[in-house]
Symmetry: C2
Subunit: 417 residues, 2 copies
């Protein structure tokens, strides 16, 4: 033989004996992926993180009565009866600025010039808007009356001491971070982000950033998985291509991580090392799925880590990530298991054919608002997922859809379409 070796007698070159349904795989997975523990992060870094538990305020916000207007702090009763025809004069005895309060107490007939946000002086109970007064030297004359509390922000108006400000499980919005800062939270308890080791195998692969040459291709799954993991709130760790040898793969799978994604070598061929490694050193209850693409996907555990064996074909890798790994990563991080894809309803432009007994993931375009399957290629054609606007699922009990059927479309870009 001029090259390589002949087929070994013990080589298993067969398909999967049995394929797990997607529903069963999800059921197993949802029992495995429970929320990680908590950590504390500085409030300025908390946006987009998942709040670990209820936050109560220890303080009133504001902690003092404050003016809501630029104007004059007064005793409301001193303005009683004031009108354009009955201007009432008040002596201006000082000024209250934000952070620089007026320190004395207002006596009857007195006013204090006050800025928006400045503390209301003792004795004052209302603010006269600047527009209502005529300003003279050392006094003002008001043309209107105010009732007690007018234009005054009361203590605890925004947040009362003891109140629950935010409940756990929430993805923190920009304004949530503002509120947490305002109540004096220096650090915020958030759910830990799952650490996700990406182990891309394949001796034919060159690292992203290389030029493809000869029969070597460039790793596309690695950078794609890094971006997917980051999108789902995980911390991706992708130190480079893993040699296609059992020892190297096992070592990568034993990295410090909550989740391991092995890309490539996930099937039952002789060079598919990862499944037997997981089976030997951990457990692999799920291997082989009734879906297309991504049927050669496996899921198991190794020393406490969740391990996903993702097919090397890039469309299969994306699909298997989205169905299983992404869901687990979001769940570990305390996020919704729902897809981060927007779902819309649209009509099929053409017939969609699918085999009964498996779930189909079809890349589609929206053409004039109608669903058109992307015609090109199989699971190896990653560009089909860049040309597609999203995907349609055909459930295992369906043979597909006729033209004009209403279907759910999941959009890759949540803000588009």
């Amino acid at each position: 033989m001029p090259n390589g070796s002949g087929p070994d007698a013990d080589v298993r070159m067969r398909g999967f004996a049995r394929r797990t349904t997607v529903a069963d795989a999800l059921r197993w997975l949802d029992g495995q992926a429970s929320r990680l523990g908590d950590e504390r992060v500085p409030v300025g870094e908390a946006a987009g993180r998942v709040l670990a538990g209820e936050v109560r305020s220890e303080v009133d916000v504001p902690g003092f009565a404050r003016s809501m207007m630029d104007g004059f702090a007064v005793r409301a009763r001193d303005t009683s009866g004031a009108s354009p025809y009955n201007r009432l004069r008040l002596d201006v005895i000082g000024r209250s600025m934000p952070g620089r309060p007026f320190e004395a107490t207002l006596a009857p007939g007195q006013a204090v010039q006050i800025m928006t946000g400045a503390p209301l002086p003792d004795g004052a109970d209302a603010v006269l808007p600047a527009e209502w007064v005529e300003i003279g030297p050392g006094h003002v004359a008001t043309q209107g009356e105010v009732s007690p509390g007018k234009h005054v922000g009361r203590v605890g108006e925004d947040v009362a001491a003891g109140a629950v400000v935010l409940v756990g499980g929430r993805v923190l919005r920009p304004q949530d971070v503002g509120v947490l800062a305002s109540i004096g939270q220096g650090e915020v308890p958030v759910v830990c982000r799952p650490r996700v080791r990406i182990a891309v195998t394949g001796d034919e692969l060159l690292p992203a950033g290389s030029k493809p040459r000869g029969c070597r291709i460039v790793d596309s799954n690695g950078p794609m998985l890094v971006a997917l993991v980051a999108r789902d709130g995980g911390v991706p760790v992708h130190p480079g291509i893993v040699r296609d040898e059992p020892e190297a793969i096992l070592q990568a799978m034993r990295s410090e991580a909550d989740v391991v994604l092995v890309s490539g070598g996930s099937s039952v061929g002789q060079e598919d090392h990862a499944p037997s490694l997981v089976r030997r050193h951990g457990e692999l209850p799920i291997h082989g799925l009734a879906m297309r693409p991504s049927s050669p996907t496996g899921m198991g555990r190794l020393d406490g880590r969740l391990v996903f064996l993702l097919p090397g074909n890039p469309v299969s890798c994306l699909c298997a990530y989205d169905f299983f790994a992404g869901r687990a990563i979001r769940a570990l991080g305390g996020r919704s298991t729902d897809w981060p894809y927007r779902r819309i309803r649209a009509q099929t432009a053409r017939k969609i054919v699918s085999a009964v007994g498996r779930l189909d993931y079809l890349r589609v375009r929206l053409v004039e608002g109608r669903v058109d399957p992307v015609a090109i290629g199989g699971a190896s054609v990653l560009s089909s997922t860049t040309r597609a606007d999203g995907f349609v699922l055909v459930p295992p009990d369906s043979e597909g859809y006729p033209p004009g059927a209403e279907v759910d479309v999941f959009l890759y870009d949540p803000h588009v379409g």
Copy 2:
């Protein structure tokens, strides 16, 4: 006078003489915010960035014919007539693995064991699936026939050399990054991210992370704006609270940045330094808006930078950011000017009242699918935006909505509701 000073004769404590409509302000703004230049980033960091221009592939992907199955590379004609009742024998002369091709040429009657993704040997034109063959020592017997090209991924099947892979303006998806890696792009041309200097003013403010004390409150706008800018693809720069003095504010506004956000002191009070500074050293064509909250908002330019004067009241700050600053930041970064909020239609649970002549931004909750205004407080109550699910706009020509009216709701969390 026991404290502070009396009102000065030249103090302008009045409202805005004239308010610009939101539509006019947006018209001005859209003429100012044109896309920044390009930069190149490593392909692994390109996800979520905006592609600056069309990318064409210089190579075919794959660059060689490859097997789509684990099986045996054959000459299709050698399998002609094979069936379970007519098994045809082929000599296995070697093996082709991904990255480790079989180097010789297949002669008639020969086969090469081949793995998924491995290069098809010269002379072969199809792949026999492993399930169809019986493996013997040095040979296989096939029970089926294959046609030329069967189970072979052809050269350029994924991406053809010279083809446009992605067009400019696209926010790069995880799979786009995979495709860009696969064609050998080491760096990707993307639109620069706008640098956004956040200048929070107010002598009453303590930096985020502090505890509020006495008449000093904690900066909530700073961390909120940092998160908003990051959300919109900008690079926030927030080195700390800016002293409420003209010199310090001017210096902050002259920072190295594409956009400056001044928070606080944006109105026409005597301590509102920023507007006159922008007017004196640059231009401030827009100051005072027909909207609530956020009427004391200004927009202008200073030495080429876009400057936004945002009100200090946190709800006003959020609203003014979202209406104007965020839009400009997204436009500078090559992104859609549309809000990153999902819009849904829902019915009002109660009457919504608004004054004619101004645009109203109302925080609302969705209660059993119906729109319920958040009843608490004004523009100073930031917690109203954490209790709200989103907001409703009432246009300037409307007095509001009756109960049961269908309105657009913009959801703060795009994936919720």
